[in-house]
């Protein structure tokens, strides 16, 4: 998990005091993580954008009206909001959304691919998109735990609390998620090179 020089709770304090720049920093810090988590649930970029906006609006309303509870951590809290909104979206629509195929063009602009060849950039993009596709194919309960652990940096205790299950259930779901995903990844020849990615 990333460590920042100014903590989230400090930024929230500053934001409460009226420093909009502190909120801007919070948004900048967490937007990609929250957006990716929402996207992996709703599987549609337009809907994910709307839900991200709605998530942050709830955050603004809660903090500015003095209802934010400082006891909890900011990221798990906002992730719970995002998760609940995504699940509500499903309930309202009463259907599983159409799987969107990705071209990846606009979403990889934060990466520095400058030293890679065009071919290797394309391979990376394809692999990242395929991985997201495989995650989306997991059973919902498994996908939820995996997404929260990997994309939201939540501990298993936090995941268990957020989803209303025991830690053992969360751990069990994660175990099956990893085993299933590994099978899928091997089938699609997604691997990692230990020489490039040392322990």
């Amino acid at each position: 998990m990333k460590k920042y020089s100014v903590s989230d709770s400090k930024l929230i304090c500053l934001y409460r005091e009226g420093h909009e720049a502190a909120f801007e920093q919070l948004v900048e810090r967490h937007k990609a993580k929250i957006y990716t988590a929402i996207y992996l649930i709703v599987k549609d970029d337009g809907v994910a954008e709307d839900l991200l906006q709605e998530t942050f609006i709830k955050v603004v309303n809660t903090i500015k009206s003095g209802r934010y509870n400082e006891e909890g951590k900011f990221l798990p809290w906002i992730m719970r909001i995002a998760h609940n909104l995504s699940i509500d979206y499903f309930r309202k629509n009463r259907r599983y959304p159409v799987v969107v195929m990705e071209d990846g063009t606009s979403v990889f602009n934060t990466l520095d691919f400058s030293e890679d060849s065009a071919e290797s950039i394309q391979i990376k993009k394809d692999t990242h998109a395929l991985l997201r596709q495989l995650i989306k194919e997991l059973p919902e309960a498994q996908r939820q735990v995996l997404t929260m652990r990997h994309y939201m940096d939540m501990s298993f205790k936090e995941i268990a609390d957020a989803t209303g299950v025991s830690i053992n259930t969360a751990l069990g779901r994660m175990r099956y998620a990893l085993i299933n995903l590994r099978k899928k990844m091997l089938k699609h020849n997604i691997a990692y090179d230990p020489n490039i990615y040392p322990r």
């Binding site: 993580k33 906006q53 942050f56 609006i57 994660m174 990893l178 995903l181 990615y197």
Partner: protein
Amino acid sequence: MIQTFTLDDVVRYVYHEMSSQEAEKMKEALLFDTELMDLYQQLRSAKKMIECNSIYLEPSQSTIDKVLEYSKEYELQVTSQ
């Protein structure tokens, strides 16, 4: 004596959610329990594959601008209601 661990404990070990003492005991248990070791290798390899291939998606700047604008205008909205 070697401590008995469950399959879910292996998940906690892979994600570093164990105390250092417990992790030491797990290391030892893995050497003697082939089922645990097999699971450990599978989980670790899957975790690495995700970490090496994961990437965060970026929302559009217009969405972020709307959020920041909403925050700036919050007081105005509340007082005008």
